[in-house]
């Protein structure tokens, strides 16, 4: 077939932010399917809750302090996260480094707190179906927390190497976006795990 050139796109940029970029949609899709995973896990919890006459089964509700502390830190972490977003958009390498390190530290603190939370669930996974589903849900969220922390650390390291190219800033904003998801996903889980058993 003959070709006729109708347009030249040579002037277009080679990377973009947000919905312009491919990876943003990738992150969005993964969040959607992982969000669905959380929804299903919540559904399983509520199903077991509905079919069992007592809840929690043979255990006290989880101690409140670890989950509550996490929730507060999660919510506050949105602020440095947004700063990271802003400096990445401005392509300010120096500040991006700083904020990525801050976010990594926050992630580490949360992961440690998460350890305490497991210890203070007041049930083991093999005690009852209640224990099982609580461990499943908390484990699921911890996987997300750990994955995002890993991603943040790798990005932070990258930014200190020669690979700190402009398109990496777009990766940073996607990571920011994903962190918001980890935070938002946590809120209903906090209510579910820590408060529903106290109803």
């Amino acid at each position: 077939m003959k070709q006729s050139v109708v347009r030249n796109v040579g002037e277009l940029p080679t990377f973009g932010f947000g919905p312009q970029s491919g990876p943003w949609w990738g992150a969005m899709s993964f969040m959607a399917l992982e969000g669905m995973g959380f929804a299903i896990a919540i559904g399983a919890y509520l199903y077991l809750y509905a079919v069992n006459p007592t809840w929690p089964i043979g255990a006290l509700p989880p101690d409140l302090w670890p989950g509550t502390a996490e929730t507060i830190i999660f919510l506050l972490s949105i602020i440095p996260n947004q700063y990271t977003n802003r400096v990445a958009h401005r392509q300010d390498l120096h500040k991006v480094r700083v904020w990525l390190v801050v976010m990594s530290l926050i992630g580490i603190v949360l992961l440690i707190l998460r350890g305490f939370e497991f210890a203070h669930l007041n049930t083991r996974w093999d005690n009852s179906a209640y224990g099982s589903v609580v461990w499943l849900i908390l484990g699921l969220h911890t996987t997300h927390l750990a994955t995002d922390l890993g991603d943040t650390i790798v990005l932070a390291v990258l930014m200190f190497t020669a690979h700190a190219k402009p398109r990496r800033f777009s990766d940073v904003t996607d990571n920011v976006f994903y962190w918001n998801f980890v935070v938002i996903a946590w809120l209903p889980l906090y209510v579910l795990l820590d408060w529903v058993p106290r109803l």
């Binding site: 006729s4 491919g22 949609w25 499943l136 790798v154």
Partner: protein
């Protein structure tokens, strides 16, 4: 900026010079390692298709074994224990290793070509997906060879699949195979969504997207929202079995019906994950051979979307005999009937297209016609079992076996074989033989009906499914023999397909770019397409671009001729936005898949695998995403 000025773009070159240059950038490295590094969607798509068909043949062999066993009363070919494994392996292989993957495989190959781009979104994820699929499938079959093939049915109901009743590793193998294939499927779903959203050729607005691409987009969303449910299900099952969680243990507050809810919340959409792509194939084939655009494009798109939504509201109809509250049963009956409406609308659109067109009865069209006939019969028996009183009668009988083979084989395998005949020339550069194609079709059509129609009657006569034999007094032997003869004929039709493919690969007529005179972009490039797919990205001004102007193709210039670059466009209007780098070949996806495989299989044997299995996965993932400082990273 200076560097950019020096970069050679595709507007500075032309013709064979441009083609050669792009080819050297986009080609897969040679040699064994090179092959394993490939991120070309066509190479991976081809592997995916071939592997899925290999599993079809394996699953088909098991089907033949079952049919030999059942051909007469009290046969002794398969022991009861082996029969349990065989039907479970058959069902699981067909559903998880053939039907879903093969549809995704075609999408991996075709969607980028149809939307006019150079590679799928996230090509390395695509490679990873293939390896996961391959390893998961091999894992299942190797386990079977060692007599640890799952034997709990393709939906592995608890409590049968719990440790107490299946103390061997068989159910673990099933659950982990699920994890493998779902990871693979979810990866492809994400790739397809992003490819369709962001990599459509400029001008391909939402109402110009080819129907197969629409179908795959809807399917990708179904996968995205259905598969997490089965992931949670299989994970909780394996946790119950390995670390004594209590999800399905009624003595500790667990509930076995939870399994059925989780399974069928995925399982019903699963049927549409298989069926919707097939309707997309049918629409494309019909348009080409009826020689006119499909009538009712918006109706078809809307009914695809409606089917997608409705398919999530039906799962409980698989549980009618578990004693549902009346209202619930009524609601799910109604919704199950309702879903016949969009499917019916599509069928009317197809019939109208044929009516108004000038149909050319080549093999692909024959298969689509066969599909319509068989699927309508399957749909009728489906509407029957959607009503609670009938379902209560025929539940777990051969009536159900007949029904779901009519919808699965009629609704997916027939259009799929049509698709093989239709796209073979594009993928392999040669036409399949028409003469063998006609044989193939008629053997398949007759064989299929002879094999499966009698099963309806057997079911009504009371023959339960999943029985390894029956006694002569039941009076089921004649119909069973008939069914087995039909199955043999049906199997023969696949032998013809295989022979045709092998023969035509060497001796078939050479195919030019557009041998069928079709209208969509995959036919605007060579057969088989070069590594870069298109020398220049097409610009779309029409829903049927190659029919709008069959001599000249409007194209876009300005992409790099020095490194891999794809054009990203806006979601709705497909306006060009970004020239984005596309990943180079890499061995890391394979290494990541190997690490993940060790993790998954190891965790069947010891929970500690989660500990020692994670670091290798993390390392390979970092290797995967770590920029190599090569072309893709320059900026």
């Amino acid at each position: 900026m200076a560097a950019e000025q020096r970069e050679i773009r595709d507007d500075a070159l032309d013709g064979s010079q441009l083609a050669a240059r792009l080819e050297s950038i986009w080609r897969t490295p040679s040699g064994l390692i090179g092959t394993l590094m490939s991120v070309d969607h066509k190479i991976i798509g081809r592997r995916y298709i071939v592997t899925a068909f290999a599993f079809l043949f394996l699953g088909g062999m098991l089907a033949i074994l079952m049919r030999i066993q059942l051909a007469g009363a009290e046969q002794r070919l398969l022991s009861p224990d082996l029969y349990n494994q065989v039907f479970t392996m058959h069902g699981s292989t067909m559903m998880f290793l053939f039907a879903v993957p093969v549809m995704e495989a075609f999408a991996v190959y075709l969607v980028p070509l149809m939307v006019g781009t150079r590679n799928i979104a996230f090509p390395r994820l695509n490679a990873f997906s293939y390896w996961m699929f391959l390893f998961g499938g091999c894992f299942l079959w190797i386990s079977f060879a060692f007599n640890v093939g799952p034997d709990v049915g393709w939906f592995a109901y608890t409590p049968l699949s719990s440790l107490q009743f299946t103390p061997s590793k068989r159910a673990d193998v099933w659950a982990q195979m699920i994890t493998f294939t779902e990871v693979a499927a979810l990866a492809v779903a994400v790739e397809i969504i992003v490819t369709v959203f962001k990599q459509r050729a400029p001008g391909m607005t939402l109402d110009r997207i080819p129907l197969f691409v629409w179908a795959m987009l809807v399917t990708a969303f179904l996968i995205m929202f259905a598969m997490p449910s089965i992931m949670i299900a299989s994970t909780s099952l394996i946790l119950d079995r390995l670390v004594s969680t209590r999800f399905y243990d009624p003595s500790s507050g667990g509930n076995v019906l939870l399994w059925q809810h989780l399974f069928w919340f995925f399982g019903h959409p699963e049927v549409y994950i298989i069926f919707i792509p097939a309707t997309g194939m049918a629409s494309m084939i019909l348009a080409t051979f009826a020689r006119r655009p499909v009538i009712g494009y918006p109706v078809i798109v809307l009914s695809l979307i409606a089917t997608g939504f409705l398919s999530f509201g039906l799962w409980v109809h698989h549980m009618f005999v578990t004693g549902l509250p009346q209202l619930g049963a009524g609601l799910f009956t109604a919704s199950s009937m309702l879903i016949a409406v969009p499917s019916g609308l599509q069928i009317f659109c197809w019939i109208a297209t044929l009516w108004d067109g000038r149909p050319v009865y080549r093999t692909p069209l024959l298969f689509v016609l066969g599909f319509i006939v068989i699927f309508v019969i399957g749909g009728l028996s489906g509407v029957m079992v959607a009503s609670v009183p009938i379902d209560t009668q025929v539940h777990d009988t051969y009536f159900v076996v007949a029904h779901f083979h009519y919808v699965l084989i009629g609704g997916a395998v027939f259009p799929l074989i049509g698709a093989v005949y239709y796209w073979f020339p594009k993928i392999c550069g040669r036409m399949l033989s028409e003469r063998l194609g006609h044989w193939n079709f008629w053997l398949a059509f007759c064989g299929f009906n002879i094999a499966f129609f009698p099963m309806h009657i057997l079911g009504l006569m009371g023959m339960p499914r999943r029985v390894y034999t029956y006694t002569p007094e039941m009076g089921w032997d004649r119909l069973n023999l008939l069914s087995s003869v039909g199955a043999a004929i049906f199997a023969l039709s696949f032998a013809v397909l295989l022979a045709n493919a092998i023969y035509s690969l060497r001796k078939g007529t050479l195919a030019h770019d557009n041998p069928w005179g079709a209208s969509t972009l995959e036919w605007a490039t060579a057969s088989p397409p070069p590594p870069q797919n298109f020398d220049r990205i097409p610009a779309v001004t029409h829903r049927d671009p190659l029919w709008a102007d069959s001599n000249t193709l409007p194209v876009i210039a300005g992409l790099s001729a020095e490194r891999r670059e794809v054009l990203l466009t806006s979601l709705a209007e497909a306006e060009p936005q970004i020239r984005e780098a596309s990943p180079e070949p890499s061995i890391w996806p394979l290494l990541t898949a190997i690490a993940t495989t060790i993790f998954f299989i190891g965790s069947i044997f010891t929970p500690w695998a989660v500990m020692w299995g994670t670091p290798p996965m993390a390392i390979t993932l970092i290797g995967w995403f770590w920029p190599t400082g090569s072309k893709e990273d320059e900026e």
